[in-house]
C-alpha cells in the first residue's frame, strides 16, 4: 500500500510541467509513414470491401470483354472484334468513369467512418496523436488502394481494346485502310471509285461550279440492282429521280469525282480509329484516376462528417448517377453558376477528346471536348471547382474529426 495524501491536500497541489521528449512529434499534423502503412493494411484487410472494389473496377470490364472475345471467337461473322475504339470509349465513360467514382467514394466513406463505428477512434485519440494527422493518414492509405485498382481495370480495357481491335476500319459501310493521309485517302478512293461514290456521303452547294459536274458523274455510276434486274444509280444533290442523266462518264472522270468525295469526307475519316491512341489512353487513364481521387477524398470527408458509411455511400451514388447527369445537361435559368459548381460537371469538361460522358452520344474528334451537350464551363473554372471540392471536403472531414466526441 502506498501513502496517499488526504483530500485536504488538493488545494495546495502545485502543477509543474515536465520536459517533453524532443523526439516525440505526436502533436504534429503530419502523419508518419507507419500510420499510413497501418491504415493501408487496415483497409486492405477488409475482405468484403476489397472483393467488391476488385469486382467493380476490374471484374465488370473484364467479364464484359471476355464475353465479347468469346462471342467473336465463336461467331466472328455475327459478332465483331471484342476491342476497338468504340468499345474503349464505351467502357471508359460508361463503366470505369462512373463505377470508379462510386467505389472510390465507398472506400473513402469506409475510411472516414469505421474507426468511429467500430470503437477504435477513442483508442487512437488516447494515443495523444494529432487528430488531424489521424485523418490525413487515411488519404494516402486509401489512394494507395484505389489508384492501382482503377489502373489495373483500365489496363485490362486498354489491352483488350488495342490487341483485339478490328483490323480494318469500316467507314460508311466500306472497309477502308486506316491512318491514310488526305492524299492517300484520295488515291485509295480513286482506286475504289464505285464503292466511294455509292457509299460515301457528299454535299455540294447549288452555286458550286463543280456541283453539277459531280452530280452528273455520280448519277452514271450503278450502285447495285433494283427490282427486275434494273441497275440503281445514286442520285447526286439536286438531281430528281427520273431526271436525265449523263449516259457515259469516263473512267478518269469517275476517279476524279471519287477522289473529290474522299477529300470531303477526310475530316470525318480522320476521326475514326481502330483502337485508342497511346496519347488518348494516357489522358483517359489520368482522367479516370482524377475521378477516383475526387471520389475517395469526397467520400472520406463525407464519411467523417456524418460518421456513417451507408448514408455517405448512398449520397455519393445519388450525386454521381442522378444529380450530376441531370444538372450537367439541363440549363436552369439563374442557377447556371450553381450547376457549374458540381464536381461531376467539372471532371466531365476535363474528359479527353473522344470520351463521351453522361450519355452524350459519342465522342467528338480527338483533342476537343467530346461532350457538346454539357453546360459550358471553362477549363480554368473546372479545375478551380475540383480543387475547391478536394479542399472543402478534406477540411470538413478533418474539422469534424478534430471536434467530435470520441
Amino acid at each position: 500500500m502506498t501513502t496517499v495524501p488526504s483530500a485536504t491536500a488538493l488545494a495546495t497541489a502545485a502543477v509543474t510541467v515536465p520536459p517533453a521528449d524532443p523526439a516525440d512529434h505526436r502533436g504534429s499534423p503530419v502523419p508518419t509513414l507507419g500510420m499510413i502503412a497501418s491504415r493501408f493494411k487496415e483497409l486492405r484487410k477488409r475482405r468484403g470491401l476489397m472483393i467488391t472494389l476488385i469486382l467493380v473496377t476490374i471484374g465488370i470490364p473484364t467479364v464484359f470483354l471476355v464475353i465479347r472475345l468469346l462471342l467473336h471467337a465463336l461467331a466472328s461473322k455475327t459478332y465483331g472484334p471484342a476491342g476497338g475504339y468504340d468499345t474503349y470509349t464505351a467502357l471508359v465513360s460508361g463503366v470505369l468513369y462512373v463505377f470508379g467514382f462510386i467505389v472510390a467514394a465507398t472506400l473513402g466513406a469506409t475510411a472516414g467512418s469505421v474507426d468511429l463505428a467500430e470503437g477504435m477512434f477513442r483508442h487512437l485519440v488516447v494515443t495523444g496523436r494529432s487528430r488531424l494527422a489521424l485523418y490525413l493518414a487515411r488519404i494516402p492509405a486509401g489512394l494507395a488502394i484505389i489508384v492501382p485498382l482503377v489502373a489495373v481495370g483500365f489496363t485490362v480495357v486498354c489491352a483488350v481494346c488495342v490487341f483485339a481491335a478490328p483490323t480494318r476500319l469500316e467507314f460508311n459501310g466500306v472497309n477502308v485502310p486506316v491512318n491514310l493521309s488526305r492524299a492517300g485517302l484520295e488515291t485509295w478512293a480513286a482506286d475504289h471509285a464505285d464503292e466511294v461514290i455509292c457509299n460515301f456521303g457528299f454535299r455540294v452547294g447549288p452555286s458550286s461550279p463543280d456541283g453539277s459536274a459531280i452530280s452528273a458523274v455520280v448519277n452514271t455510276v450503278p450502285c447495285g440492282n433494283g427490282p427486275g434486274g434494273t441497275s440503281v444509280h445514286k442520285l447526286g444533290p439536286g438531281a430528281a429521280p427520273g431526271s436525265p442523266t449523263q449516259p457515259h462518264a469516263s473512267a478518269a472522270q469517275i476517279r476524279a469525282v471519287a477522289a473529290e468525295i474522299a477529300r470531303m469526307n477526310y475530316s470525318d475519316y480522320s476521326a475514326q480509329f481502330l483502337y485508342p491512341s497511346t496519347s488518348l489512353m494516357i489522358r483517359s487513364g489520368l482522367w479516370l484516376e482524377l475521378e477516383a481521387v475526387i471520389g475517395f477524398v469526397v467520400g472520406l470527408g463525407l464519411g467523417s462528417l456524418i460518421g456513417q458509411r451507408t448514408v455517405a455511400v448512398v449520397v455519393m451514388i445519388v450525386l454521381e448517377v442522378v444529380l450530376t447527369p441531370i444538372f450537367s445537361r439541363a440549363r436552369i435559368p439563374h442557377l447556371a453558376n450553381l450547376q457549374r459548381a458540381l464536381v461531376g460537371l467539372a471532371t466531365a469538361h476535363l474528359a479527353p477528346g473522344g470520351i463521351p460522358v453522361f450519355g452524350s452520344g459519342g465522342g467528338g474528334p480527338a483533342g476537343g471536348s467530346g461532350n457538346p451537350g454539357l453546360l459550358p464551363e471553362s477549363t480554368t473554372v473546372a479545375v478551380c471547382v475540383i480543387v475547391a471540392w478536394l479542399v472543402i471536403w478534406t477540411g470538413l472531414g478533418a474539422w469534424r474529426m478534430m471536434t467530435r466526441d470520441a
Partner: protein, 304 residues
C-alpha cells in the same frame, strides 16, 4: 492526475459537477460510483475524448488540453467496453495503435500481448475473441505506450472469476512497477482488494476521497453477538452511554457503535451482558467493508 472545478454538462444534465480530484503517483486509485454517476464522463474529459465546460485538469503534470499530446504519451486507457477492428487480429490492432505512438511502441506489442496472456491468440481475428479476451487486449493496448498512468474503466466487466483474479494481479504488478492505476468501477469488493485510495462519485460530484483505511476509520463499529438470551440484550444496553444501536435477528444480535468507539467499550459490553445473566457464546467485531461504508455514505446523502 489532478482536477479542479471540473464540470461537464449535457444540456440540463450535469454529468461531472465541480470535481476536485487528486490521484497521487504510484498508487492504485479506485473511482467508485453507481451506474450513471458520471465516472466514464470524467474519464472521457480527462483523456480529451470530450471537452469540459469549466475547470482545469492535468495528467502527469501536464495541463490538459494544452499539453494533451505530451500528457497522453505516457497514458494508457480503456474507456467503456474495449472495441477493436474485428477483421484484424489482436496483434494487428495493436500495431495500428502503436503506429500512432512513438516508434518504440511497435516493439512493445509482443511484450504487451504476452503480459496479458494473449500471445497464443494474438494472430486470431478479434471477431473470434471473447469479451474477456477483448478486455485483456484493451489492457495490452494500454501497455504498448509504456504508460506511467493507466485509466481503466470497468476492466472487470465480462471476466470470469479466474480472469478477475488475473486482472487484479496485473493491476497490482503494474502499481508495484511504479505506475499509477486509476480503476473506475462499481464493483466495491474488487476496488477494495486492489486499490490504496478511492474517490466516491455520485450524481457527477465527488463526495469522499482518500486512502481506504482512512475513510473506513470513520465508519460505525459493528459487534456481532451470539448469546443465550438475545431478546434481553437491548434492555441491558439501553441505559449505557455508548450510543449503541441493537438489532436482534435470526443469526444473533448486531450492536452498532458510533465511529471512533474504542475496543474497551466492547469489553464493557461483554461484562454488562455477563453480569446481566446472559451467557455469551461468541462476540466478534465485524470489520467495516468498503461496501458497507459506501452504502452508509450514499444512504446518508439520499436522506439529506
Amino acid at each position: 492526475m489532478e482536477t479542479h472545478g471540473l464540470t461537464k454538462r449535457f444540456g440540463q444534465n450535469v454529468a461531472v459537477n465541480d470535481v476536485e480530484l487528486l490521484v497521487p503517483r504510484g498508487c492504485a486509485f479506485g473511482y467508485l460510483g453507481p451506474n450513471g454517476a458520471g465516472k466514464t464522463t470524467l474519464i472521457r474529459v480527462l483523456l480529451g475524448l470530450t471537452r469540459a465546460d469549466t475547470g482545469t485538469m492535468s495528467l502527469l503534470g501536464y495541463p490538459v488540453p494544452k499539453h494533451r499530446d505530451r500528457a497522453l504519451a505516457r497514458v494508457g486507457a480503456i474507456v467503456d467496453e474495449p472495441r477493436f477492428h474485428a477483421h484484424l487480429s489482436g496483434r494487428e490492432n495493436l500495431e495500428l495503435l502503436a503506429s500512432a505512438r512513438e516508434p518504440a511502441a511497435r516493439g512493445r506489442v509482443g511484450l504487451s500481448l504476452e503480459r496479458v496472456g494473449l500471445s497464443h491468440r494474438a494472430d486470431d481475428r478479434v471477431a473470434k475473441y471473447s469479451m474477456g479476451m477483448r478486455q485483456r487486449l484493451g489492457v495490452a493496448a494500454c501497455l504498448i505506450g509504456d504508460p506511467q498512468l493507466l485509466i481503466l474503466d470497468e476492466p472487470m466487466n465480462g471476466l470470469d472469476p479466474a480472469g478477475m483474479q488475473d486482472m487484479r494481479e496485473m493491476i497490482l504488478s503494474l502499481v508495484a512497477e511504479g505506475r499509477t492505476v486509476v480503476l473506475s468501477s462499481h464493483l466495491l469488493d474488487e476496488v477494495e482488494r486492489t486499490c490504496d485510495a478511492v474517490a466516491i462519485v455520485d450524481r457527477g460530484r465527488v463526495i469522499r476521497q482518500g486512502p481506504i483505511a482512512e475513510l473506513l476509520a470513520g465508519t460505525s463499529l459493528v459487534v456481532q453477538v451470539d448469546c443465550s438470551e438475545p431478546d434481553r440484550v437491548p434492555t441491558l444496553l439501553e441505559r449505557t452511554p455508548f450510543g449503541a444501536q441493537v438489532q436482534v435477528g435470526a443469526d444473533g444480535v448486531a450492536i452498532t457503535l458510533p465511529a471512533g468507539t474504542g475496543r474497551d467499550v466492547i469489553a464493557e459490553i461483554a461484562r454488562l451482558l455477563v453480569e446481566g445473566g446472559v451467557s455469551l457464546y461468541r462476540l466478534q467485531e465485524v470489520q467495516a467493508s468498503l461496501e458497507s461504508w459506501f452504502l452508509q455514505v450514499t444512504s446518508r446523502l439520499e436522506a439529506e
